[in-house]
């Protein structure tokens, strides 16, 4: 009877149930996708990179991390974790004043490179995070870091983007996916595993 009187009400309820069911099952599929990406992380490469970073930090170097958007918050997160382990670390994106100044006066492509010029020391480590692997300011930042003899490390997605074309890049981790939310979740695992390999400051 209610269906005859309020056909729309009934239809809406059915729609809601089916949309909720779709949404629930797609949640589980998304989880399976990131699990697959995590299984593909090269643990030997993580160990090698962790040891190389630790050697630099042991010589008095600092971890300097940078990225755009969600990756900028990853840079802040890995730096916070590094500081918690007793090592000095800097997130370039913590400085909104310098970034907006350089972005406005020189160009956004130059923000990280410009910050590294006065800050970086040869014993430091540059850790770039870019989902596309091709952000011009991230590439320029790594180039500047390489010129200044920093250890250069990068975490990216897709097929590695332009980062793949940098022959001097010391360590590169690619989460092979073209879907940003999932590859970004795998990035968090890569840098958390790196921190495990780096260990605490003695």
């Amino acid at each position: 009877v209610t269906e005859f009187l309020y056909p729309f009400l009934e239809r809406q309820e059915t729609d809601l149930e089916s949309v909720l069911a779709d949404v629930s099952s797609s949640t589980v599929r998304k989880g399976a996708d990131v699990i697959e990406l995590r299984r593909q992380i090269n643990l030997d490469a993580v160990l090698a990179c962790g040891e190389a970073i630790r050697a630099r930090l042991g010589r008095g170097g600092r971890l300097i991390a940078f990225g755009n958007g969600g990756s900028s918050t990853d840079a802040q997160d890995v730096v916070g974790d590094c500081l918690a382990r007793g090592w000095p670390a800097i997130a370039l994106t913590n400085d909104a004043a310098t970034i907006t100044a350089v972005g406005n006066d020189v160009g956004y492509d130059k923000v990280f490179a410009r910050q590294l010029i006065p800050l970086a020391r040869a014993e430091d480590v540059a850790l770039a995070i870019s989902t596309s692997g091709s952000s011009p300011n991230v590439i320029a930042g790594l180039e500047e870091a390489h010129r200044r003899h920093l250890l250069t490390c990068a975490i990216t997605g897709y097929d590695g983007g332009r980062l793949r074309e940098l022959p001097w890049l010391d360590h590169l981790f690619v989460a092979p996916s073209d879907y940003i939310p999932r590859l970004q979740e795998a990035h968090a695992t890569v840098y958390h595993l790196l921190l495990e390999a780096i260990g605490d400051r003695p």
Partner: protein
């Protein structure tokens, strides 16, 4: 060390798969509630401290600047992006807004205070916490692990999924309207989430409606009212 890293990856897989299988239904309901709040003009306010402050910033940019071309930008503000610490939910929050509190541990006092504050203001509240937590929120999601970095990674999947699936509900605009809560044959109990010029905004099962409160005297946010046909009949 290599074995240790392999163990960490396995543990992530186990916890994430279990968590999503257990929580998929409530995650869908939380997405629906968030989509309705955005449809009412709400703003998302994500909050965490320490490492979780970076998640709050991540959530804000996720909603404000969608990574998928064609998805609409949704309003979000992370108070922790303000180094003066003067942005608080007390100043920013309105009843239509969404509070999302994040803690990588069982409980964090600042996050609990944020959620209580938001709830008192009638906001939709969502909490993400680690094992042992029991956050007071409309939708609380507890990740069953005490490894804070693992918890954080599961929570990143959760907030990405919330963002992705809120947009699914925007493709079904008929599911975003507030149906009449008090129009049925029998009176219903509903919680007061805000007061507006002599009326009360009530909520039941995520739906909201304004009712007259002349019959019940003094009403406060959080009161449970028995309502029928747009009128509050008595306090429960």
């Amino acid at each position: 060390m290599r074995e240790r890293l392999a163990q960490l990856v396995d543990e992530r897989e186990r916890v994430l798969a279990t968590f999503l299988e257990t929580e998929k239904g409530r995650l869908a309901l939380a997405c629906h509630a968030m989509a309705r709040a955005f449809a009412r003009g709400g703003t998302l306010i994500p909050f965490g401290t320490g490492a979780a402050a970076t998640d709050a910033a991540h959530i804000a940019v996720e909603f404000m600047h969608p990574v998928i071309v064609g998805k609409r930008a949704l309003p979000a503000l992370a108070p922790t992006n303000d180094p003066t610490r003067a942005s608080s939910v007390v100043r920013l929050g309105r009843p239509d807004d969404i509070a999302l509190g994040i803690s990588h541990e069982a409980e964090h006092p600042a996050v609990s205070a944020f959620l209580d504050d938001a709830r008192a203001r009638g906001m939709l509240t969502i909490a993400l916490a680690g094992a042992g937590g029991a956050p007071r929120a409309d939708y609380a999601f507890v990740v069953p692990s005490t490894d804070r970095q693992l918890v954080q990674e599961v929570q990143e999947t959760v907030y990405h999924v919330l963002w992705e699936l809120v947009h699914v509900f925007f493709e079904h605009p008929g599911l975003l309207d507030d149906a009449c809560i008090t129009c049925g044959d029998i009176a219903v109990e509903a919680r007061v989430v805000a007061l507006r010029n002599g009326t009360a905004l009530i909520e039941k099962d995520g739906l909201r409606e304004e009712v007259a409160v002349d019959l019940v005297g003094d009403v406060e946010v959080g009161d449970l009212l028995l309502c029928h046909a747009g009128v509050a009949l008595e306090k429960v």
